[in-house]
């Protein structure tokens, strides 16, 4: 919705790229737009055509579970909100006729036309929708259109398609009645989906008592696809929780998995919740066969429980296949047209999968999300922002400003002169409610000087009516009774703003979404409700106040704190876009963990880390960023757009900046004596091993190694300490074991769940197994034992999969240490900037999916492992995303401030500071106005307008603008006011 409304984004739907020429910075892309047979400029999305349409078609969005009409809106929130005709289902296209029948019809038409010149051959067979449409939006003469777009950069975000589970006969998808895919289940569980959130068995639409999820369908070696699909584990766990919460009739949910890949931030805690609430039974194994019982349509699943070591037969009512992401069918063709490459599976290939998540093999063309292979949503969102940052380099010359010249403001002073516009929305409102009665009721309310109705208030004629009303009656308040303000308030506000009418003097009354649409069975009560809502809206309008958007100046430069790979990337991206950037690094060199001798080679490409780092640093230096090593940031004051940072060290100064990116990285866990670390000389950490590779490889007592053991999850997934997954350790251990195995060392890896989820890591895991690396699954709650007196000799552990104790010799024991929030920096910047810290100790992002690099403090962004454990490619993507978000802020010399925020009346404030305590955004602050007298003041740059402080203030000194006490109370009073005509 935000994208659809953005003035700089043109959304072209129902279209595909057919050709691409030119070069980076000046591409020419030919786009073919299929006709939708409904004109976007006229359609008001009322839905009358759907009611009139007699023909039923399939439904792609609801996975074919529910039918739709031949004219339809793909889903309720679609952008644009225009309906579309399915030519394969619509009677007017005669596609239902056989070619022979169609031929005959054409001939008859031709003969008739010859005989009678007035005969029209283009008549519509059906045309019900055309007559039903009140705004003449349906146009069957629309033709495919081709347009050429001139663009500087291209971003491919074509996503994935579902793996076709029909190809795996074992699971019986498409053959057995109650086997569905996870995407089909998703449509059922969606509150606005096919079954309104209830899970049903397709065979009889009854609630299944027992449900079984099969993981890795078409992934990790199945169906010719070796990669891990990344999102399925968490999705199945989430679904199991949802099902158990919503449907008490579901007695049991079982998840058949191989490794529980809860690798993202907070994922492990989520899985633990599912375990402790017993929402799901976790069973490790893959089904051998699924048998259908025709007497009651249940399914019997035969599976070996590979942890309990026993064959199981599980009878269930519904089997859900967690299907993998497969490449889009059109991806290879699209890649050919764009001149980029695809990988062995048909996903878009990345130039350097170890370092950059978003660069394709061609300059100027970027990729984000699952087009490169399966991604979870937080990573997809970060990559999308990252791609935008990189693309900006090809566009920065054409940066556009958003501010058109505003019209002179109208004089809106004096007592309220309220105008009311009641919308019919076709028959959406007028079909149930008596609109003229509503207009009369409105006209009788105090302060109302004009009340009219309109067929479609949001159409261009409706907007003209509104403008005329304002001018004729010299209105200073407007009430529109129509649909929800959440979608339509921006449209009416914009119309009013163009007239010079203060947009905050508009009130919307929702008589469609929350009245006529939901009370169809109670027309009398619905009318009464609409009248009450109208009274309430008019009463509130009488108390609305004109608000002026504030402006705050922006210092158009950025500060990046931390010179590791994330900081380097963020600084480079911003500097290449032309923003002045200062990168501050505490130590004397750039590179963080990539600097020698800390990291030898990168997975999965096996390139030397120093080489990658050297290239990144070279590009940073070329970008013009100011690099300050041996320097620390000791303090920051100010707020979004105008921070002042105190730098000390090699350079000491006060630096003004508009945006701040935190990229100081994470610490590695200290094994703290675990597994004999510190006591046994040959027990080292994964970082020590990397260092040893720089010195020609690890040796014991000067001799080459014969054996090595790797212990995973040291300091991760620890209920006592950091309970999350550190994400980088599984692929790192596999990389290290593989490197040693290639030199003839016998390697054993002790793991809990093998989480090789990053690009190419699952393939590397297979390769390691092929190279003879032994993998031992450590039972939950148990640990590997390192045996030896002064040095480790052997490692012993029960292998959960073989159900016997394994003991291997170990010349070297490598502890794969997890990540920790870096201290004392995290605590220090929490104090300085007031950024929220999560339960895991890392900085909390604003929203895991919607705002993964933003913080609750406007103008401060997170890059890399300050937000949580990540590997290099994810850190780099997140760093670019942070740069993208910062550049949005720095693109203008002012920030707009929403005026609907809290304000403090200093005369009533007692300076108790409670507002300061409860505000998560640190908007209120106490200020000493005269010696000994403190009052709170709300910084409008920081206030988000939630209004909680206004409710909380014990002195009633705070006003939540646009939702003032008086405005809300006026609504309550009007609600209960006795009804006039």
């Amino acid at each position: 919705m935000d994208a659809g409304r953005h003035p700089l984004i043109d959304v072209v739907t129902n279209a595909q790229v057919v050709a691409c020429s030119g070069e980076p910075g000046a591409f020419r892309v030919r786009v073919r737009k299929r006709p939708r047979y409904v004109r976007e400029d006229r359609c008001v999305a009322c839905g009358l055509c759907v009611e009139a349409c007699p023909q039923v078609g399939g439904n792609e969005f609801d996975m074919g579970i529910k039918a739709r009409k031949a004219i339809y809106r793909p889903f309720p929130q679609s952008v644009p909100a225009t309906y579309v005709v399915d030519p394969d289902a619509c009677l007017n296209f005669l596609n239902f006729l056989t070619p022979k029948q169609r031929d005959r019809l054409e001939r008859i038409r031709a003969i008739k036309a010859r005989k009678d010149p007035a005969y029209r051959t283009d008549f519509l067979v059906c045309g019900h929708c055309v007559s039903a449409c009140e705004v003449q939006a349906i146009d069957f003469d629309m033709q495919p259109e081709e347009t050429d777009l001139e663009v500087g950069a291209i971003l491919v975000a074509t996503g994935f398609q579902e793996f076709d589970a029909r190809s795996l006969r074992t699971y019986g998808y498409g053959r057995l009645p109650n086997v569905v895919t996870s995407l089909e289940l998703e449509r059922m569980l969606n509150a606005s989906g096919v079954t309104q959130g209830h899970v049903v068995r397709p065979s009889d639409l009854r609630t299944p008592r027992r449900i079984l999820f099969v993981q890795c369908v078409g992934a990790r070696g199945e169906g010719g696809r070796p990669y891990c699909s990344r999102f399925c584990c968490m999705n199945a766990v989430k679904d199991s929780l949802l099902i158990r919460q919503h449907d008490p009739a579901v007695e049991e949910v079982t998840i058949l998995y191989t490794d529980m890949r809860a690798f993202g931030k907070g994922f492990d805690d989520f899985v633990e919740r599912a375990r402790s609430e017993e929402s799901a039974i976790f069973l490790r194994g893959r089904p051998a066969t699924i048998r259908h019982d025709p007497t009651d349509d249940t399914l019997e699943v035969f599976v070996e429980d590979t942890l309990a070591h026993e064959p199981r037969r599980i009878r269930v009512d519904l089997v859900v296949l967690s299907v993998a992401a497969a490449p889009n069918e059109g991806a290879v063709e699209l890649a050919r047209m764009l001149g980029i490459e695809t990988d062995a599976y048909g996903f878009i290939a990345r130039r350097d999968p170890a370092v950059s998540a978003v660069e394709t093999c061609r300059e100027g063309i970027f990729v984000a999300g699952s087009a490169v292979g399966p991604q979870v949503i937080p990573d997809s969102v970060a990559q999308a922002s990252a791609a935008a940052a990189r693309a900006a380099r090809f566009l920065s010359a054409e940066r556009v400003t958003l501010d058109p010249e505003p019209p002179p403001p109208l004089d809106l002073s004096g007592p309220p002169r309220i105008g009311v516009l009641v919308c019919h929305c076709g028959i959406n409102i007028a079909g149930l409610l008596d609109v003229s009665n509503l207009v009369d009721h409105a006209a009788a309310q105090p302060g109302v000087v004009a009340a009219v109705d309109d067929a479609f208030a949001c159409s261009s004629t409706g907007q003209e009516t509104l403008a005329r009303l304002v001018a004729e009656h010299r209105l200073n308040r407007v009430v529109v009774a129509a649909c929800t303000p959440r979608t339509h308030e921006p449209i009416f506000r914009e119309t009013l703003a163009r007239l010079g009418f203060n947009p905050y003097l508009l009130e919307m009354v929702n008589i469609r979404d929350q009245c006529s649409w939901v009370h169809a069975h109670h027309p009398t009560e619905a009318q009464e409700k609409a009248r009450a809502l109208l009274r309430m809206g008019i009463a509130r309008a009488g108390h609305l106040e004109p608000l002026e958007e504030g402006r705050a100046p922006v210092t158009r430069s950025a500060l990046v704190i931390g010179g590791g790979i994330a900081g380097i990337q963020a600084a480079t991206d911003l500097a290449e876009q032309g923003f002045p950037v200062t990168l501050v690094e505490r130590s004397s060199e750039l590179g963080g963990r990539l600097a020698a001798p800390r990291l030898w080679h990168l997975y999965p490409t096996d390139r030397p880390a120093v080489e990658v780092l050297a290239r990144k640093v070279e590009r940073l230096r070329a970008s013009g960023a100011r690099i300050l090593t041996d320097t620390e940031v000791t303090g920051i004051v100010g707020c979004v757009g105008s921070f002042q940072a105190t730098l000390q060290g090699a350079v000491t100064e006060i630096l003004p900046v508009g945006a701040i990116i935190l990229a100081f990285g994470a610490d590695l866990a200290d094994p703290a004596g675990a597994y004999g670390h510190g006591r046994l000389s040959n027990v080292i950490t994964s970082e020590d091993l990397e260092r040893a590779f720089f010195e020609g490889g690890p040796r014991v007592e000067g001799k080459p190694l014969r054996s090595a053991a790797f212990v995973l999850c040291v300091g991760s997934r620890d209920p006592e300490g950091f309970s999350g997954c550190s994400r980088y350790c599984c692929p790192t251990a596999v990389k290290q074991a593989l490197a040693l195995a290639r030199q003839g060392v016998d390697c054993t890896v002790f793991y809990r769940d093998m989480r090789t989820v990053s690009s190419g890591a699952e393939e590397m895991y297979r390769e390691a197994r092929g190279a003879g690396v032994l993998f031992v699954r450590v039972p939950s709650g148990s640990h590997a034992q390192v045996l030896g007196e002064t040095r480790a000799e052997r490692v012993r552990c029960r292998d959960e999969l073989l159900d016997r104790v394994i003991e291997v010799p170990a010349d070297l024991v490598v502890l794969s240490v997890g990540m920790r929030a870096r201290q004392p920096e995290t605590a220090r910047f929490h104090d300085i900037l007031k950024i929220t810290v999560g339960l895991d100790g890392f900085f909390l992002e604003r929203h895991p999916e919607l705002a993964p690099v933003e913080t609750a403090v406007e103008g401060v962004f997170l890059a890399g492992t300050v937000q949580g454990p990540k590997d290099i490619v994810d850190s780099v993507a997140q760093a670019s995303a942070a740069a993208a978000k910062a550049s949005v802020l720095l693109a203008h010399d002012q920030v707009r401030l929403d005026p609907a925020v809290s304000v403090v009346d200093p005369d009533r404030c007692r300076g108790c500071g409670q507002c300061v305590e409860i505000c998560q955004f640190h908007a209120p602050a106490l200020k000493e106005i005269e010696p000994g007298t403190w009052v709170a003041e709300v910084n409008p740059s920081l206030c988000k307008g939630c209004g909680t402080c206004a409710s909380w203030c014990p002195s009633g000194a705070i006003t939540a603008r646009h939702f003032t006490n008086r405005q809300v109370e006026a609504m309550v009073d009007a609600l209960f006011a006795e009804a006039s005509p």
Partner: protein, 142 residues
Amino acid sequence: MSAPEGWNPRIVVFACNWCSYAGADTAGVSRIQHQPHFRMIRVMCSGRIQPGFVLRAFEKGADGVLVSGCHIGDCHYLFGNERAVEQFEKTRAVTRILGLEDERLRLEWISAAEGARFAQVIDQFTERVRALGPSPLAREAR
């Protein structure tokens, strides 16, 4: 006390913009029918719903008041709904003093996607308040 014949409860719903008000819209888009005896008042965050709003509604004649926001952990403003809980408890203390039954005042978390749940909550709450009959305060107000 039994309700008069043909009596319908008067219910006020305070809802946050981001979750519960949006959830009611979702019920609309999906045409999920529910009881029509409530009136919605939108605020930006459930944390804005102060005791005074709820008490005024009862004072003016409400038979039931529903306070609704985002699920805990999902607040658009991080923790506003947790403040809403605290304010709800304060309100509850006053309604008890006023002699109102606890069931006339309810707190529910409803997300933007939960149109069906919104309808269900409204139906259940309406029936509950209907069973209680007119509010003792509402009788005075009328």
